[in-house]
């Protein structure tokens, strides 16, 4: 049996280490040393570079050579990881009962009963897939973005690969301790990606804000993780979710506290109103590539965590939290959308739209119906693609004009029609236009939430209306109208940029027209979650006497 997931985690980690270990060439060093160093590093990388043929000719000599190598290595490793995960996904069995597949369990710290345990069900599989699709595109999009840095941006690419390893790890972990380790360790590369490779003077502060919010949430979760271990006696998710296990028998008050400990961390991560304030700051100060990973992938860890840990580990506590969370979700949906309308900075605008979208996801999760949760799971993936693409396009604009302010643009569609077209498609995906992927997920969420209770569904529609407003208004202000002086020579999308964004557009359209393959993967896992929930709910309402049925 092939240890798919371990390989998928190890491959980008090795890539990060290789890039980090590339010989450092100081700028004044002679050109041949640099070239030699670059060449030897390329040779070391071996098969990793095989796929990295599509790239600009390397700049000659100086500090550029290792940076060029680093880019190619990063692309090579991330594409190799994508292929590896894709191969794994082809072996995924969708006919099963929604349990974990590709499971691996090795003891790690036996003293605390900690395992290196990984495995995926349908939901985590699609999230892992989404992550590995986004990373090579981010590398491609960030190709020249950090070239003027001292290190030519190679530190950035090492961080991206390190982050990719942790992203796969966090979705694949089936040991709560391991999950926590990835959850917290992920902060470090992102912290440096924002602080060191961010935009603007405030990036250090934004990075700090991001880190402190996340750490505070993480530390609260640490108490809950410890609590789960003390109560449940194990860290293995499969044992903790066992309805006959020790955790299931815990008294309801403790279960609620533990649920809350996990939930606060995930709500900060997601981010949910009122703990969302770090996201616009962080995304606004990030380079677009970082923002894609931050909003597209990292924030999904929050919603994924709610689904996988809050709901499945504490089914008895969930009913108690449904209405508060639904309330917060509705506030997030409307509040995020309204603030998005008022933004003058495109990066912040997209970040606020995400606050709104995450409201839909949490709403779907906590409506506790089959359609709503399937919709929410699908929403996570589609949002990753759509918002990722939107951030990338905004990034292309910023790379051309050096500004992310909406007022600095106008009439771009006349000078750069391709760019404007892609912008429009990704924007329309953001407002869930039928025929594009996010529509399917949003529709499912609405159907599911309506079945749960019509009132929140009705309130949530406000978010859809507002979405049309903020997206189309941004498009109107940046792409239409007269072209200002400085923009007349704006170049259209280059080949590299097309390659970075085209796959996402293709995926958005493909899954908009035919979402069934993804739903087939997700549904068994969602059914399992919802059934466990329903069983517990029945047991709770019917009293202890019928509890044996489970």
């Amino acid at each position: 049996m092939i240890p798919w997931l371990t390989l998928a985690i190890a491959l980008p980690a090795v890539g990060a280490a290789v890039i980090w270990a590339l010989p450092r060439v100081k700028a004044p060093a002679s050109a041949d040393t640099a070239a030699q160093a670059g060449a030897s590093a390329r040779a070391d990388a071996g098969s990793g570079t095989a796929t990295a043929t599509r790239s600009r000719p390397a700049a000659t000599g100086g500090a550029a050579a290792p940076a060029e190598t680093a880019k190619r290595l990063a692309l090579g490793f991330s594409v190799a990881t994508l292929l590896l995960v894709a191969a794994m996904a082809l072996n995924f069995d969708t006919s099963g009962a929604g349990g974990l597949q590709f499971e691996e369990v090795y003891p790690w710290i036996p003293y605390f009963g900690v395992h290196f345990a990984v495995g995926v069900d349908g939901i985590s599989l699609v999230l892992v897939l989404m992550s590995v699709v986004l990373v090579p595109l981010v590398v491609l999009a960030a190709w020249n973005e950090h070239s003027d840095r001292e290190d030519g941006g190679r530190g950035y690419f090492a961080l991206v690969l390190a982050l990719e390893a942790m992203m796969i790890g966090v979705f694949a972990a089936t040991d709560v301790f391991l999950f926590y380790v990835f959850f917290e360790a992920m902060l470090i590369p992102v912290y440096f990606m924002i602080g060191r490779y961010g935009r603007g003077a405030d990036s250090a502060r934004a990075a700090m804000k991001f880190l402190l919010y996340s750490l505070a949430g993480g530390l609260i979760m640490l108490v809950a993780v410890i609590g789960v271990y003390v109560v449940g006696g194990t860290f293995l998710w499969t044992e903790l979710t066992d309805p006959g296990g020790a955790l299931a028998a815990v008294d309801p008050a403790t279960a609620r506290w533990l649920f809350l400990g996990f939930f606060i961390a995930f709500a900060i991560k997601a981010p949910m109103w009122p703990v969302h304030t770090w996201l616009p700051t962080a995304a606004g100060s990030s380079s677009p590539g970082t923002a894609v990973l931050l909003v597209g992938v990292l924030d999904k860890v929050g919603t994924y965590g709610m689904l996988r840990y809050c709901l499945e580990m504490f089914p008895a506590a969930v009913s108690w939290f449904v209405w508060p969370v639904v309330g917060l979700s509705l506030v997030s949906i409307v509040y995020g959308a309204i603030l998005a309308i008022g933004q003058s900075d495109m990066m912040r605008l997209v970040a606020y739209t995400s606050v709104s979208h995450f409201g839909f996801i949490t709403l779907g999760i906590f409506a506790l119906t089959q359609q709503a949760q399937a919709g929410a799971a699908l929403y996570m993936v589609n949002h990753g693609f759509a918002t990722g693409a939107l951030f990338l396009v905004v990034g292309f604009l910023i790379a051309r004009r050096g500004s992310s302010r909406i007022e600095d643009y106008g009439g771009v569609q006349k000078v750069a029609p391709k760019l404007a077209g892609v912008f429009l498609v990704t924007g329309l995906a953001g407002l869930a236009l039928p025929g594009l992927a996010p529509f399917v997920s949003e529709f499912l969420v609405f159907v599911g939430v309506y079945a749960f209770n019509p009132v929140p569904a009705v309130i949530a529609t406000a978010g859809v209306v507002l979405a049309a407003l903020y997206i189309l208004w941004m498009y109107q202000r940046t792409m239409t109208g007269p072209t200002p002086e400085g923009l007349s020579g704006l170049p259209d999308l280059s080949g590299r940029e097309m390659w970075a964004v085209a796959p996402l557009v293709a995926l958005i359209i493909a899954f908009g027209v035919y979402p069934q393959p993804m739903l087939n993967v997700i549904n068994p896992a969602v059914e399992r979650t919802v059934e466990a929930e329903a069983d517990t709910a029945v047991a709770v309402t019917d009293g202890d006497a019928e509890g044996d049925e489970e």
């Binding site: 036996p110 380790v181 360790a185 902060l187 470090i188 880190l211 750490l215 640490l222 108490v223």
Partner: protein, 553 residues
Amino acid sequence: MIPLNLADGAPPALHGVTEAPPALDWWLLAPFLVLFGAGVLAVLFEAFWPKDSRRTVQIALAALALLVTFVLLILQVEAVGDGTTVANGVLAVDRTVLFFQGTVTVLALVSLMLIAERRDGRDAFSAQAATVPGSEEERTHILAGSQHTEVYPLVLFAVLGMLMFPASNDFLVMFIALEVMSLPLYLLCGLARRRRLFSQEAAVKYFLLGAFSSAFFLFGIAMVYGYAGSVNFGVIRLAVESGGAEIFADGNGEPLLLMGVGLVAVGLLFKVGAVPFHNWKPDVYQGAPTPITALMASCTLVAAFGALLRVFFVPFGTSAQIWEPMLWTVAVLTMVVAALVAVTQRDIKRLLAYSSVVHAGFILTAVVAGSVDGLAGAMFYLAAYGFTTLGAFAVVTLVRTRDGGQELGDIDRWAGLGRRSPALALALSLFLLAFAGIPLTSGFIGKFAVFEAAVAAGAAPLVVVGVLSSAVTAFFYVRIIVVMFFRDSEGEGPTVARAGLLTGGVITVGVAATLALGIFPGPVLDNLLPSSEPGQEPAAVMVDQVTAVPGEE
């Protein structure tokens, strides 16, 4: 002496009274004797060895003594089994004690590397401490290249005290150990080469406050003696169980015990630097020569916590209801106050001092847990923290001002360090992240271990306070990283002294230990720490493990 019936039919045991020459197990005493012998020898060298080669010989002797001690400790691990006492029951030798002693020895050896480091022929110590700072005489000594090689015997004696402190099975011996450990440290604190007045002030402060706390400790011992009729830990434990010595048949001796526990705790909490007994730490850490600060921050803390754990778990182990509320309060105060005060610090050494206070608070949560898991957690935490803190102080010794080459304490002037010496800045960042408890560093596993023990013991609110103050501490650790990496130096930035082989070695050891204990802590956790078996009552495991009631041998 108040006779005490241990059990029906058993002869009355007399402790602390030497009727016959005690049977000494020289083999188990060997680590102490080696260090003591080396210390004495070093003093003699100080008098008789020719001056030009004296320093080399002293360093070699100190290193050799520590190495031999460490090897002896390792050899004893298998031999002691479940533990025993030596020298008429005044010193305990068991695996827990050996772990503390081994940790202290290794950390001392690493600190010795920092202490021995010289730059341009000068070490961190005053040329002639007896001269008036700034005087002509001082200048003469500096120009003549005088040096205090007395530092090495002093370190050896201090380490001897640190080995005895957590091994004591008798309050009087513990007091002697405390003084043997502290007196050389008071002296060493005042020996800084630069900012001498500052250093001397620190030494005086440390001495006065230390003497004060010793008095508390001693007074507490007297109270406990009055209650239990003995200073032996085993006897005190039995006395506490049975409600005091025989004269307290009606159980009215409790006030004595309360006072005794409280006063002894003051002495011990002072040494670990818990709030409200922490005020010496920032001043002393800042004023002392940095290598000595490193020694104190690592070895002294380990030894002091070793002793504290022993006192609360062994003699007072059955009176947890007395001291638990007290330690709760102290732990909460320590974590909250120190974390908040640390946020305002601008000097790296003061900041690390406050950080050490916060960490003492985290470890206290494990003491409050009062379980085997708590003991194990605290042991792991101390070992992990010791290496990390040594590495951090080693970095501090390298960052200097442009003019005059003093150490540059002001964090705000560290801007741009990440660009100038990325490796050093990365190493320090790793140490800081470990302090903050980020996963994949030893600090995280340590924090997990102590918090897990506390939650399991029902002290979840304490742990909540702990994680909240962790979040605060993360702020000031990360701020240093921000300054080093994300801010450009305004005006003149720091220079970085080239790391010598020794300092480089310390940083390397720090990095290696921080990562190894963070990623693969298994071997240490499984092999070196005590583990509880399910269903066992924590206090019971404790006693069997760490006490050996004298008279049973």
